[in-house]
């Protein structure tokens, strides 16, 4: 009986030692292999970022926009109530709701910039210097806005207004950056379309280089249409390239996104007309 007790105690001790040893080794690995753990964590984090598609980020930005709208309504209501009743309760309520809307507004802008950054990366593949500058600009703004931890912590109207004003000072530069990003995305998409149409045009010219049995009048009409298509495509490319040149120097002086949007619109119209004409020409028997 005594032997059995001693054996039991011995086994328990052995198990305890083993457990202690395992826990000890686990802690040792946590400390000593920090680089391995950190490396894997970084890799996993990078994969998660990569796995976030434009669609996901767009949905996030829309969601953040909805939250901002609702926080904004609550802030307007609380502010009006305070203006009307001016009591301690309405003051606290106004402070709380305004802090909340400042956080929502910041989050909405961060999410929107993240979406824009991903879109820019996917569409343009950051192929040249101006695109790199804009991409890094977006990155800096996202990091800077994400670092505003004191936002929404104000306990008085003065502090809240100061924090809000500081944030709003960024908007002018931010709008410019957003405008440039949008134009770079649009311009690259347009350039892709132009290249594709150029390819189809070359193919058509090669296929029709040999003398055809068509009547002379028909051949002349085809040649005229082809010249028209070439002119429209050239005009479209020239308009788009002009915008590209302006995008490269956007931060060196006065810059108006709306006039370049109009120019890209014109380029798009010319391209569409050229594409339609070429499709008609190709589909002719």
């Amino acid at each position: 009986m005594a032997d059995a007790h001693a054996l039991g105690a011995c086994l328990r001790k052995k198990v305890e030692v083993q457990l202690l040893s395992r826990a000890h080794k686990f802690c040792y690995y946590l400390v000593m292999k920090w680089w391995l753990i950190g490396g894997w964590a970084f890799l996993a984090g990078a994969t998660v970022v990569m796995a976030q598609s434009v669609g996901d980020l767009y949905a996030q930005a829309v969601d953040a926009g909805t939250q901002y709208r609702s926080a904004y309504s609550a802030y307007v209501q609380a502010k009006n109530q305070h203006l009307q009743y001016n009591t301690g309760t309405t003051r606290v309520e106004a402070i709380g709701k305004t802090n909340a809307v400042l956080i929502s507004r910041n989050k909405w802008l961060i999410d929107y910039l993240k979406y824009l950054r991903q879109m820019l990366a996917e569409v343009t593949t950051i192929a040249n210097y101006p695109q790199t500058v804009v991409y890094l600009g977006l990155e800096n703004q996202i990091n800077s806005l994400s670092g505003l931890t004191e936002l929404g912590q104000g306990d008085s109207f003065t502090k809240i207004n100061a924090a809000s004003n500081d944030w709003e000072k960024r908007l002018e530069q931010m709008d410019k950056l957003i405008g440039v990003s949008q134009l770079q995305i649009s311009s690259t998409k347009l350039a892709n379309f132009q290249n594709q149409l150029g390819g189809y045009m070359e193919e058509y010219i090669q296929n029709h280089s040999t003398p055809s049995a068509l009547p002379a009048g028909r051949q002349a009409a085809q040649a005229t249409t082809l010249t028209l298509i070439t002119d429209k495509l050239a005009a479209s490319i020239a308009d788009r390239k002009e915008v590209d040149q302006q995008l490269a120097v956007y931060n060196t002086g006065y810059w108006s996104a709306s006039s370049y949007i109009q120019q890209l619109d014109r380029s798009h119209q010319q391209l569409l007309e050229a594409a339609k004409l070429l499709a008609e020409l190709t589909n002719q028997p």
Partner: protein
């Protein structure tokens, strides 16, 4: 022995997580709706309607459709148009 087991845990577990994430990413990409040049199922084909002139649905026709369907100021790029200025009255 324990050390080896721990080594294996640190190597295998994160690898599994990593490959799962990569697989998710690939599945996501493959499920993206591609722009189809085919007529939708059930739509009248030239055989259903012999009077209709069959248009050659080649790459160029698809390109024309893509250009026509695209806009410079794409709505997906537009920021929500609402007031961004926030302030409280002075106390």
């Amino acid at each position: 022995m324990n050390g080896r087991r721990l080594n294996l845990v640190w190597l295998i577990l994160p690898s599994v997580v990593f490959f799962l994430l990569v697989a998710t990413f690939i599945i996501k990409l493959s499920r993206r709706p591609a722009i189809s040049t085919q007529a939708p199922v059930g739509s009248p084909t030239p055989l259903d309607n012999p009077a209709a002139t069959p248009e050659t649905d080649n790459g160029l026709t698809s390109l024309v459709r893509q250009i026509a369907g695209w806009q410079v100021n794409d709505l997906r790029l537009a920021a929500p148009p609402f007031d961004r200025k926030i302030s409280l009255p002075s106390e």
